[in-house]
């Protein structure tokens, strides 16, 4: 097996420089690559373009990079819950491109799959369609969307092995699998790095071929954004 294991987050992020484009997994604060984000803060790289469904909250997730003004442009589907984001966006410091969530997922998947472009109905007849080709198939209108191009993908999985095979947990899966292999280098951090052969080959969500570097994450806070519960009767 081809060994993808790296020993620490510094090694995992080797090659990261200013002005790069990153795919960053997670939905809200669920399934985000906490260790990679922390190291990006530490590296203090600037001028970043981040493609991620959300932009974190003020003091967690991608919000940490926003606080240090490391991000030049965000490509997301939803960016609420973040005052610093709002301030930078309204002041023009931060460029923001909002795109439909399914289109975001599919543009990642297209990059992973070597599909340069595809048609989707999402956004037809709206601002999202401006400057894009529109086309009819079977009586319905669609717009042409293209695969993302990114330098690094930072994803977080539940379990992984040295071959780079990944298994995700619950809804922390979200965008992580489709970002694997959608950038030049995919860095996967996992909660638990298991021995080779410990994962059932039938139950691997993402085969190691889509991952260049894998590491055991040092620490996970796994913050809950909306703790919603019901009372026991």
């Amino acid at each position: 097996m081809i060994n993808k294991k790296v020993d620490n987050i510094q090694e995992a992020l080797e090659g990261v420089t200013d002005n790069m484009t990153f795919l960053v997994g997670g939905f809200g604060l669920s399934g985000i690559p906490e260790n990679a984000i922390a190291e990006l803060v530490n590296l203090d790289v600037k001028g970043l373009t981040c493609i991620s469904n959300n932009a974190g909250v003020d003091d967690f997730g991608l919000g940490l990079l926003l606080q240090k003004r490391q991000i030049k442009k965000m490509i997301s589907s939803y960016v609420g819950e973040n005052e610093e984001f709002e301030r930078q966006m309204l002041s023009g410091e931060l460029e923001v491109e909002l795109i439909p969530q399914g289109t975001l997922a599919e543009r990642c998947r297209a990059a992973q799959a070597g599909i340069p472009a595809f048609y989707t109905p999402a956004g037809y007849g709206t601002e999202v369609a401006e400057g894009k080709e529109s086309r009819e198939f079977n009586g319905k209108m669609y717009i042409l969307e293209q695969a993302f191009k990114a330098d690094f993908a930072f994803v977080k999985a539940w379990k992984g092995d040295e071959a780079g095979n990944l298994i995700f947990k619950g809804t922390a899966r979200n965008f992580n699998p489709v970002m694997c292999g959608a950038a030049k280098i995919t860095v996967a951090e996992v909660e638990e790095l298991v021995p080779l052969g410990a994962l059932d080959p039938n139950q691997i969500h993402i085969p190691g071929i889509f991952v260049q570097r894998i590491l055991q994450g040092e620490r996970y806070e796994k913050r809950i954004e909306q703790r919603t519960v019901r009372q026991r009767n």
């Binding site: 709002e86 439909p100 399914g102 997922a105 037809y124 601002e127 995700f168 954004e225």
Partner: protein, 217 residues
């Protein structure tokens, strides 16, 4: 006149046996509480879960199990988790039977605007554009008028669109309205609301044919 709970209760009656349903944030989320329990329905959330159950008991929350509103949830037997691409395959591929979402404006041609007010902070469309462009059956849950008392059922939307010609039905605090090629067709009145009141609160063409029944909840 209905409150938000009443709107959710009325929409719950549109949920049929065997439906896969995607509920938007806000009033739509409440719909799950009022669906008849003698029918089989599964709730999908676009962040990657099918077969959502109720909120967890206190102390049983799992950061890795949330809905699209980022709320902690539980799952029912037969549930499944999946990635965002497969989730939107369900939506774009029209495997979800019913989508219920809120709106700022709906036009009589079925256009919907619910994501952006020029000049204000824009949070984004999330999955709404995929949902409205794909769903065969879309119900909008909203108040009939905005805070300034202006109609949200318009001849043409004034705000940036989320989708075109897609809304099939609207349930508001005042009425149930169907979107037809000729305009908004009034189907039901909210308890205690007259046709005149609905007419007054509707800027778009309102089609009133025969007696309009009061809705049953």
């Amino acid at each position: 006149m209905l409150d938000k709970t009443g709107i959710a209760q009325r929409i719950a009656k549109e949920v049929k046996d065997g439906y896969y349903v995607n509920l938007g944030i806000g009033i739509p989320t409440l719909v799950a509480n009022y669906v008849r329990n003698d029918i089989e329905v599964e709730f999908q959330s676009e962040n990657g879960v099918l077969g959502m159950g109720p909120f967890p008991f206190e102390g049983e929350e799992d950061a890795d199990v949330i809905n699209a509103g980022k709320q902690t949830i539980t799952t029912l037997p037969g549930a499944s988790f999946f990635d965002s691409a497969l989730s939107f395959s369900m939506i774009r591929g029209q495997h979800v039977d019913l989508t219920i979402l809120g709106a700022m404006e709906v036009a009589e041609n079925g256009d919907i605007a619910n994501w952006k007010i020029p000049g204000k902070m824009v949070k984004g469309m999330g999955g709404a554009m995929d949902l409205v462009a794909s769903a065969e059956n879309i119900i909008v849950a909203m108040m009939h008028t905005n805070r300034e008392g202006e109609s949200k059922l318009l001849k043409r939307c004034s705000l940036p669109l989320t989708g075109v010609g897609c809304v099939k039905k609207i349930v508001t605090n005042l009425a149930v309205v169907e979107v037809t090629p000729n305009g908004f067709k009034l189907l039901e009145r909210a308890p205690g609301v007259s046709v005149e009141e609905i007419q007054k609160a509707t800027e778009g063409t309102l089609i009133v044919e025969g007696d309009i029944p009061e809705m049953e909840l």
